[in-house]
Amino acid sequence: MVNPFRGFGAVFYKETLHVRRDFATLFFSLIIPILQMFLLGFGIDTNVRQINTVVYNADGRRESRELLDRLRNSDTFHLYRFVNNDRDLNDAIISGKCRVGIKIPVDYSDKLLHNMSAQVLVLIDGSDSSVAGQAINVTTAIGLDESLRRVLATSDSAFAVDMRPKILFNPDSRSPNFFLPGLTAVLLLNVTTFLTAFSIVREKERGTLEQLFVTPVRPMGLLLGKLLPYLCIGFFELCMIVFAMRFIFSVPIHGNVLLLAFLSLPYIFVSLSLGILISSKATSQAHAMQLAFLTILPSIFFSGYIFPRETMPKFFYVLSYFVPASYFINITRGIILRGAGWSHLWVDGLALFLMGSFLLVTAARRFHNKVIMA
């Protein structure tokens, strides 16, 4: 009777020894993601504020100055430059010094006084879509608001429709609240994939893997024995990240932290299995590193971490279902921001577990065949 997990205990014992012996190196590799989190958490603000704006105020009278004050008070525009002709206005945008240009024509105040429609030209640099979008929204809103006030001032009626938007879950639109739960998935993936990939490729380089294959160790026993210690380390890393997120960046966690911890296990399992699969292909640590990097960009761009998955073209939307980070970002944002529970998220956890099992079994088969073909 062949035990498919033969050698698991021995490999587990040895792997924990490796970890203990070289704990310093390991600890640094675990600290680096925390440092990255500090950089990104403090450095990145996803809200668009204080856009550099160039102004050509050809009118210059009270009405035009009032309009500029309103733009300034929106917190969206930083009136940074004032010019006196169209050429300088264009130039400031082309050179990249300003993202938005506002031209108030010479007859602005006259037209307002005569109840005619006054036009204001807003030039927007479209090279950054989030900046352009925000500039359009705010200028249009200010224009509408200004017009309404003037129209209403001459009649007694009130606002016909009053939209009252209310943002759930992150009312202040604090960037870290939105940003860090997603970042958790990316950082965790980075660290854990490398852990298993390197651990096995190192054995290839030293020739110890070949030695193991001449013993009764079975591929599954070997791989699980390698995987389990690193699952603990990955979990420890997750705890550090969540701790920093909660207590240093003050991101409130609306759901159950224990559920988050539990659902992180299948995700760590997936990325460790991915590392193992990489190690079945890679012949050196440098090679493993290249392959691991291949997996990182899709995890950032196709997981909904930066761009919403729903707006992707059909093909990439389907592709995003094969990116493990998609599920885990849904889990972290769900639990941390929306207070989602087990009934909302068990499917994501199951999907991750199945993906991890598939990767691990594939890797085990590859190792089995490699033994045969080496």
Binding site: R6, Y13, H18, R21, V214, T215, A374
Partner: protein, 323 residues
Amino acid sequence: MTASDQPAISANHLVRRFGSFTAVNDVSFRVQKGEIFGFLGPNGSGKTTVIKMLTGLLPLSSGEATVQGIDVQADPESVRENIGYMSQNFSLYTDLTVTENLKFYGRIYGLSAERLRERMDAIIELNGLGPYLNRLSAQLSGGWKQRLALGCAMLHEPKLIFLDEPTAGIDPVARRQLWDLLFELSAHGITFFVTTHYMDEAERCSHVAYIYFGKVIADGTPDALRELPEVNPPGTYRVEISAPHVTSALRFARTVPGVRSSTIFGQSIHALIDDHLDLDHLRSQFLNNNVAVAEIRPLAPSLEDVFVELTYRHQAVQEAPRG
């Protein structure tokens, strides 16, 4: 046939092809229990491929092999339970201590805690690892690494141990000590399958096979090989010629009629001479031509002579059909 007189290894017509390349071409040999079997051959001749086939790592393209009475293809797992293997780079975990390495391999073979302790004590005693138990294996010298690796390979008391170039890159004293250890273990009935490049090691084996480009071209005890008719063609004898200037002596020797082949061995020349050219005649040939020689004496062929001779003959056979 009873289990006790079954050979430790029986390889019958092993063939291994990689695409169109035949790495192992119809290799057959038998290793009896308790032998130290030396498996020799140049790099790339198929030595490692044969080991991989015998340990169940590589399927056979054709042929069959039994190791310790177990069919390698039918049950490679059982084969691996019953053999020890030490690779040429010793394959130790350098960041683990001597004890930890031993414990790891003990657990791999599923030894109980009690048995593991017993076996570790026995191996530490036998290999003299006592003073180094808590040292990282990275800090051991080549010789001690090799003893530890051998210890790891025999924890589970295999009756057959494969040693792939066990002495590559270690000092002569450690080399000597390893061979002493192998003889001692072999006396206890353990069979060794050893690959090596050192001819002096080949001379110590109780049974030697030489593989050349995938074919075994010599197989027998060292003494039997030395007496092969191909190596000692009728009407010839071997001499050792010592000379102060070996290279010029060799150049001259090759022009003397009756000298069939000649090679430099350190400070002397080994030559195969036709019977009609006796020793005195040969000596006078050198003196008459002012080539200094110190001594010329008859010599039994060494294993190296055997392998050189057989390799030439094999090459001649290979090339004959083309020419």
